[in-house]
């Protein structure tokens, strides 16, 4: 079974093996922060920073991992980088840190990062690991933006705070609330499956 190269890992991360639409990982953050585009983009950037650092660190120390402490080491590394990211955000982008609130620490338990550490970083060299991290986080950010775009415009008629739909648009408040997140993501996932099935892609997710 050939282990994919860096370029393959990168390309796969974005669409074919999109962490959210294909592998169904990191759903907690996907549903939680996508009620507006600004926080979705910031969450994407935060995950990018943490994923790249964590993958790099794990792939550097992958030879000394002991089987029964493997998960503990991964989570420790990820938690450190998330705390650093959280403090940086709180120091330099305070309003955004307040908007994201509790969901930044939840990046630690974001399944994507731990999964990438286990699948890719613990087995391959730093270069492939970083490429994989970039691909996956871009895929993640893409998924977040696609979800946030739908939810924000329907929920508040605005994108990034600028009014897009006419003020007469009755805001679908449900879209900004939890049920809206579930529904929108379910429908978008169905759409993605349908497109990939129609394009003759491999079996649906």
């Amino acid at each position: 079974m050939s282990t994919p190269s860096a370029a393959q890992r990168f390309v796969r991360g974005i669409l074919p093996e999109n962490p959210v639409y294909r592998q169904m990982l990191g759903l907690c953050a996907t549903l939680a922060v996508t009620n507006n585009l600004k926080s979705a983009v910031t969450m994407g950037a935060a995950v990018l920073f943490v994923l790249v650092c964590a993958n790099l660190m794990v792939s550097l120390i992958r030879h000394w991992l002991t089987p029964h402490l493997r998960i503990v080491i991964f989570t420790l590394t990820i938690a450190t980088f998330v705390t650093v990211a959280d403090r940086l955000l709180a120091a330099f982008l305070y309003p955004m840190s307040k908007a994201l609130g509790p969901y930044i620490p939840l990046i630690i338990v974001n399944c994507i990062i731990i999964c990438r550490c286990e699948v890719c970083a613990a087995k391959q060299g730093p270069l492939t690991a970083v490429a994989d991290a970039l691909g996956q986080s871009l895929g993640f950010a893409l998924a977040l933006v696609s979800l946030a775009a739908v939810r924000e415009i329907l929920g508040t008629g605005m994108w990034f705070g600028f009014r897009v739909l006419p003020a007469a648009w009755p805001d679908w408040v449900i879209m900004v609330l939890p049920p809206g997140a579930f529904l929108t993501f379910g429908l978008l996932l169905g759409l993605a499956n349908w497109i990939s099935a129609r394009r003759g892609g491999k079996e649906e997710a």
């Binding site: 000394w64 089987p67 402490l69 590394t77 938690a79 650093v84 120091a91 305070y94 307040k98 929920g155």
Partner: protein, 222 residues
Amino acid sequence: MNAAVMTTDTMPAKRPWRDNALFQGWLVLLLAVVFGALLAGVQTALGPTIAANKRNETLSQVPALLAPASGAAATAKLEIDTRMLPVSRGGRTAVYRVHRARRDGQLAGWVVQTAGQGYADRIEVLVGLSPEADVITGLFVLDQKETPGLGAKIATAPWRRQFVGKPAAAPLEVVKGGGAGANQIDAITGATISSRAVVAIVNRALADVSSQLAADAGKAAP
């Protein structure tokens, strides 16, 4: 549980004496200590800026909440000092964060930071009071998680402006459908619980602190 401790043959124990748990976990120990130190370093480096951000966020609201200063005093710089005011009333002790604002020595007003249970979650508000702590000069919602589109309207300026000028002594009431009297606040349609929650928070804060602030104001005024 069987007492005989078997040798760990799953672990490639190349050197048996290296078999104890601590050695196998050396990587975890090293990482834990290194990361602990790293984060402490980050904390000391970024700590002050974060604290400053937090303080600025509240202090930047203070001027807007005070009574508009007239004449020459308007341009003077505001000095704001914050202290924790413990209050015990009806067998309940509560601690309020009170910001005292002075314009070139003259007491310009107070801003009380308080919080309470709203419809869905905590609501944190800043209440601006006149120097004698008898008239409300402003209200700002710092943090709320009310239902967006409905309860979240308590943070909008038009609704908050209703509080300006209301007397601090008499408790405010929430009225539905306009016609706000001297101490009545018009509730947001569809979000009466949120509106009532904010008014209750303000009432309790004023009842707790206005007497003490008025006393301080009497003492402090030159």
